[in-house]
């Protein structure tokens, strides 16, 4: 029900990243993965974070997802400073506020599709019957209504990713984090998944943040954040984007861009 609220207060900032740096120790060297990033993400938007490997993209992405804490600076998720949270509260945040979608699908192998979807609801304290009912609805929504008793190995990659999407929606999160959601899928299936995510973002007002190399993602993104060398290179909104896609398409460097 929170999601409907999100739609109404359209300009609400669901994620705020302020002056964030992150350094890692690599032997005796301090490596600065993020060199001061400021970013605001509006609720209900579809955001793509793009950038080459080693650009700090994954680091920023993990921080937005509450999987990592900044060295300096602050990350607010739904106005909650994640550095202030203890392990229990972080787990709670992951359970209720954020849904995760992985490149490798990460369907829990020992469970059926339905059990995968209901697991987060069980963690959230929902009764079994209610959880099963909601789980079936979610699986129908992602187009797997007839396959909820299937084990992961009986499902194709695209179907597994659909289960993962249903699972990410289990507790009506405000944010869905998708880490290269199409990275392990073929072109068509990847496109289907992208449009499914876009549809969900529109219908349910869920903010979708995805880290990706996939140029197909640009078509559906409301905003594209380009990361380069630990800094935000540029942020493009949807209206500016159509131009740059045209440019990318005409450039001879197209292939290298989609690969990086």
């Amino acid at each position: 029900m929170l999601s409907t609220g999100t739609v109404m207060t359209d300009s609400r900032k669901i994620v705020r990243v302020t002056h964030v740096t992150k350094s890692f120790k690599l032997g005796k060297l301090d490596v600065l993965a993020l060199k001061g990033v400021d970013l605001e993400i509006t609720a209900g938007n579809y955001i793509s974070i793009m950038g080459p490997s080693g650009s700090g993209k994954s680091t920023l992405f993990n921080m937005i997802g509450g999987l990592d804490k900044p060295t300096t600076g602050k990350v607010f998720i739904d106005e909650v400073d994640i550095a202030q949270l203890d392990a229990y509260e972080l787990a709670w945040l992951r359970c209720r506020k954020i849904g995760y979608i992985f490149q490798t699908f990460n369907i829990i192998q020992v469970m059926t599709a339905l059990e995968n979807v209901t697991l987060p609801m069980t963690f959230a304290g929902m009764a079994d019957d209610a959880a099963a009912e909601k789980g079936i609805k979610l699986l129908e929504m992602v187009g797997l209504g007839d396959r909820f008793q299937h084990k992961p190995f009986e499902l194709s990659g695209g179907q597994q990713q659909r289960v993962a999407i249903a699972r990410a929606l289990a507790n009506d999160p405000a944010i869905i984090l998708a880490d290269e959601p199409t990275g392990n899928l073929d072109l068509n299936t990847g496109e289907e998944i992208i449009y499914l995510l876009k549809q969900l973002s529109r219908e349910r007002g869920v903010t979708i943040i995805s880290a990706t190399h996939d140029i197909k993602m640009l078509n559906v993104s409301d905003q594209v954040v380009w990361i380069r060398d630990g800094r935000i290179d540029k942020i493009e909104n949807r209206d500016e984007l159509s131009i740059s896609i045209g440019q990318i398409g005409t450039k001879p460097g197209h292939d290298t861009l989609s690969e990086c």
Partner: protein, 232 residues
């Protein structure tokens, strides 16, 4: 407490109940049994060293029980036969105890068994790091993961050492029956033998839990970000 305040002041409209993160006990048991069944051969390998060690313990214990039964008849011929089959009996002894040498062998076999379990379980944890990371991304607490691993080990321990104890005990009875005939069965105190088998089972369960302790802690402390890794 301070952190809860932050949640409230942030204006998240959820009541106290909503802050719970739970994994009901029966649900944990269900998941544990499922993952044992799905990874049956893996579980079997983890359990097999336990089965062997426990059956060895059970074999020696039940063997002593049978020997005691034979001694209690007071027949010198049986006593001689026992000494010939390897029991160190002094003339004044009225019961068979475990010799220090035998106890050392038992302790050693149990130690080897625990090391084997730790090894196998650590590998199981490494194999499952993505599953564990995913569960954590879905909101699982450290203690859910710990509980799942302990339950799995407990169930494996109970079944494995149960099987081991019965097989070891039966083998001991069979062994004595071949050497001494029916007298070894009729003079045996069945309660004593039952206790020996139960004791061996208990030891096996404890060993299984001790062996999984460290691997389960490694699993529970795993960071959710591990689920994002692409390698493997």
């Amino acid at each position: 407490m301070q952190n809860h305040f932050i949640f409230h002041s942030a204006g998240l409209k959820s009541d106290k109940i909503d802050r719970l993160l739970v994994l009901p006990f029966m649900k944990s048991v269900e998941i544990a049994i499922k993952s044992i069944r799905v990874r049956f051969f893996r579980s079997l390998i983890t359990t097999i060293s336990l089965v062997l060690a426990v059956s060895f313990v059970s074999f020696t214990r039940v063997g002593s029980d049978v020997a005691n039964g034979l001694l209690s008849t007071g027949e010198p011929a049986l006593r001689q036969a026992l000494i010939r089959s390897g029991y160190d009996l002094q003339p004044e002894d009225v019961s068979v105890g475990n010799s220090p040498k035998q106890q050392w062998i038992i302790v050693l076999s149990l130690l080897v068994c625990v090391v084997g379990i730790v090894n196998a379980q650590l590998m199981a944890v490494t194999e499952r790091f993505r599953e564990i990371g995913t569960m954590k991304c879905l909101g699982a607490l450290d203690r859910f993961i710990l509980r799942l691993f302990l339950l799995e080990a407990g169930i494996q321990g109970l079944i494995g050492s149960g099987v081991g104890a019965v097989v070891g005990g039966a083998f001991a009875l069979f062994n004595f029956f071949l050497r001494f005939g029916t007298v070894s069965i009729t003079t045996l105190s069945w309660t004593q033998a039952g206790l020996s088998v139960a004791g061996a089972t208990l030891i096996g369960c404890v060993l299984s839990l001790v062996g999984v302790m460290y691997p389960a802690m490694v699993a529970a402390r795993m960071q959710p970000v591990e689920a994002m890794r692409v390698e493997q």
